[in-house]
Amino acid sequence: MPERIISYQSLDHKADMGFHLQAPSLERLYIDSALALTDLSVKLERINSIDKHDVLVEADSKESLLIKWLNEVLFLFERHKFLPKRIVFTRFDGKSIKATLIGETYDPIRHGHVSEVKAVTHHQLEMGTLPKGENNFYAKVFLDV
C-alpha cells in the first residue's frame, strides 16, 4: 500500500511553532494532525510499525477534542518514548476518540534528537471546512515549545 500523503505546512511564530493542515474528512483531520505533530520532530518514514498504544480521549467540543488528542500524543512520547506512524480510530463521534496508534519506541541514534513540545495550545486554533475541494477540512494549530 502506498504511503498516505499528509498535507501540512509548518508555521513560523516568533516564540513558538505550529502547523496548518488539510484533510479529506474530519476523522482524517484528527489522525493527520497527530501524524503531522510527530513528523515535525521525527519524519514518519523513519518510524517502524512494531508497537502499539490504545488511547481514549473525550472532550466537550471539537476544538478541545483536537487539543486533548494531540496532547495525548505528546504524552505518549514524554512518558513512553512512543512515536506513532499509523493511527486507526475504533471510535470517533466528534466528542470522543478511541484509537490505536501503531509505531515504535524512540531510538535517539536512528531518530535523532527530539525537541520538547510543552503543549498543544488553544492559541489561534482554527478548525473548519472549505466550501469545496478534496482536502476541504482544515486545522491550524500552535504549539508551545
Partner: protein, 485 residues
C-alpha cells in the same frame, strides 16, 4: 511636553521615561503601561503583543494599569512580559496568565572562586562534561539515584525546596534566599490529576530543553558597589545561573486548568477574546482548584532547581574541594500570587499574574529576608548564551510603578525556524568557543535556535527597566560554560 508614539492604531503617551500609557477604550476595564524605549516598542509592532495586552485589560476585576515589560513579545493569551493585578473579590485568575511552565524561574549561586581559578580551557571542558553528566537534560531523563517515594513526592508538592533540604539536598540557608522561602503555602497536591503527578514523578531534577540552561559565569562588571557587596557579588567572581521550571507536571496542571476554566468562563459569563485567556473568578471553585494546583506545581519547580543546585555543588567540590556555592536568590517568572500592598493610599490584596515577568520588591519590604531588606530584592535576568546576564535590584517605588514587577529576560526576535536558516549548531558552538564560551547540548538544533542573534539584546531591556525606575543594575555576568537541554 510628554511625547506620543503611534504604533499601528495604538497611540501611546509617555507618562514618565520609558513608561507609555495606552488609555482604556471600548471593552477595556484598565489602561496599559508599556514599559520600554520607543525602539523596543516599535520592534514588536509586527506581532500581536499590543492586542494581547488589550485582551488582558478587558478581563473582569483587572486593576489599572496592566503592564508589559521591555522584554515583551507575543505569547498565548497573555503577552510574554505581562503583569496584571486583579481584585480578589471581583477579579479572575487565568492559567494562561501564568503559562504552561508554572514557576519557570532563575536562581543564581555565588561562589568563593575567581575567574582565574577557571581560565584553563581543559579544566573548563572537564567541568562542562561533568556537569552535563550530572544534570539530566531533555525530555524525560532522570537520575537513577533520585527516586522520591510517593510520600516524599507529595511532601515536595506541599513543601517545595524545603523538602529537598530535609532530604539532604540543600541547606536551611538556601531556603531564605528563595521566593516564598522555597514553598508556596496552601498548595493542594490533591487537586492535581493523576496524569500531572505521573508527569512530575519521573522528571524531578531535569533541566529541560529549549531556553532552559545552566551557566557557569563570571561577574564582568559591578554597577552598584554597595548593593553588590550586600548581595555577595564582586568583580571577577565565578557564579552559577540555573534556569528551569516545573517540567511536564506544570504543563499538565495548565492544560487541565485551561479546560476547567473554559467551562468556568462560560458558566460565569466571562467574555474571552482568546481561549488561552480562559479564567475563573478567584474565589470560585475553579479558581481555588487552579490556585492550589498551581502552587503545588510551583513548589515542584523550586524543588527541581534545588536538585540541580545540589548536583552542581557536588561537581564543583570534585574540582574545587574548598568551593562554597551560596544561593543569592531564586525568582519565579511565570506565576500568579496573592500579594498585599499599599495601593492608592489603602492596603489592598491583589492576585498578581506575572507571565515572563519577575517580582522586584523594593527595599524594606517585609517579605524579604533580613539580609536583603535594607537593599531590595535581587532580580535575576538571564540573557542569551553568547552575551551576558544581569543581576538587578528592586527600587523604592517599584510597587507603585509596576506592582513590584520587572522584566525577566531578553525575549526572542527570531523564530526557531528563522534562526535555523541563519546558522548551524556546529557553527554556533565554534563561534562561542572563539569567544571563550564552551557549550554542551543534548539536542540537535538547540544551539542554533538559542543563538544570540535570536534574542533581543538583554542590555537594552535592562537599561529600559532601569530608566523606568523599577529596578537598577547591580552586576553584569558573562558566560564561561553553558549546558542546554
Amino acid at each position: 511636553m510628554s511625547s506620543t508614539l503611534t504604533i499601528k492604531d495604538f497611540v501611546l503617551k509617555e507618562i514618565t521615561p520609558d513608561i507609555w500609557r495606552f488609555e482604556k477604550t471600548g471593552e477595556m476595564l484598565a489602561g496599559i503601561h508599556f514599559v520600554g524605549s520607543a525602539d523596543i516598542l516599535k520592534a514588536i509592532s509586527d506581532d500581536k503583543s499590543f492586542e494581547q495586552a488589550i485582551h488582558v485589560a478587558s478581563l473582569p476585576g483587572v486593576i489599572d494599569p496592566v503592564l508589559t515589560m521591555p522584554d515583551i513579545h507575543q505569547g498565548y493569551g497573555f503577552p510574554i512580559g505581562g503583569v496584571a493585578a486583579f481584585d480578589l473579590d471581583t477579579g479572575v485568575i487565568s492559567p494562561g496568565g501564568v503559562g504552561y511552565d508554572i514557576n519557570c524561574g532563575v536562581r543564581l549561586l555565588t561562589t568563593n572562586l575567581e575567574h582565574n581559578n577557571l581560565n584553563d580551557n581543559k579544566l573548563i571542558k572537564q567541568l562542562l562534561g561533568d556537569l552535563f553528566d550530572a544534570i539530566p537534560t531533555g525530555v524525560g531523563s532522570q537520575r537513577k539515584d533520585l527516586k522520591p517515594t510517593p510520600f516524599q513526592f507529595e511532601n515536595i508538592l506541599v513543601n517545595g525546596a524545603q523538602e529537598l533540604v530535609r532530604m539532604g539536598m540543600g541547606t536551611t540557608g538556601d531556603l531564605q534566599s528563595i521566593e516564598k522561602s522555597g514553598a508556596f503555602t496552601e498548595a493542594r497536591p490533591d487537586f492535581l490529576s493523576p496524569r500531572a503527578l505521573e508527569r512530575g514523578h519521573f522528571q524531578l531534577g531535569n533541566l529541560g530543553s529549549g531556553n532552559h540552561f545552566l551557566e557557569v559565569q563570571f561577574v564582568d562588571q559591578i554597577f552598584d558597589k554597595k548593593t553588590g557587596v550586600a548581595f555577595g557579588l564582586s568583580k571577577g567572581q565565578i557564579v552559577v545561573m540555573i534556569h528551569t521550571g516545573s517540567r511536564g507536571l506544570g504543563y499538565q496542571v495548565c492544560q487541565d486548568a485551561l479546560e476547567d476554566c473554559l467551562s468556568a468562563s462560560e458558566k460565569y459569563g466571562i467574555q474571552l477574546s482568546d481561549p488561552e485567556l480562559a479564567s475563573a473568578p478567584i474565589g470560585s471553585a475553579e479558581g481555588i482548584r487552579y490556585l492550589g494546583a498551581m502552587r503545588a506545581a510551583a513548589n515542584f519547580a523550586f524543588a527541581n532547581r534545588q536538585c540541580i543546585t545540589h548536583w552542581t555543588r557536588e561537581v564543583f567540590k570534585k574540582y574545587f574541594p574548598q568551593s562554597e556555592l551560596t544561593l543569592l536568590y531564586d525568582v519565579c517568572h511565570n506565576i500568579a500570587q496573592i500579594e498585599q500592598m499599599t495601593w492608592k493610599g489603602s492596603m489592598k490584596k491583589f492576585c498578581i499574574h506575572r507571565k515572563g515577568a519577575t517580582r522586584a520588591y523594593p527595599p524594606h519590604h517585609t517579605e524579604l529576608p533580613e539580609y536583603l531588606r535594607p537593599w531590595g530584592q535581587p532580580v535575576i535576568i538571564p540573557g542569551d548564551m553568547g552575551r551576558c546576564s544581569y543581576v538587578l535590584c528592586g527600587n523604592k517605588g517599584s510597587l507603585k510603578l509596576s506592582f513590584g514587577s520587572a522584566c525577566h529576560g531578553a525575549g526572542r526576535v527570531l523564530s526557531r525556524h528563522q534562526a535555523k536558516k541563519k546558522s548551524t549548531d556546529r557553527a554556533v558552538e565554534k563561534q562561542l568557543a572563539e569567544h571563550g564560551i564552551f557549550v554542551k547540548s543534548s539536542g540537535k538544533n538547540t544551539l542554533v535556535a538559542e543563538m544570540s542573534e535570536a534574542y533581543k539584546d538583554v542590555s537594552a531591556v535592562v537599561q529600559s527597566t532601569a530608566r523606568a525606575g523599577i529596578a537598577h543594575s547591580v552586576a553584569r555576568l558573562k558566560p564561561i560554560l553553558v549546558i542546554k537541554g
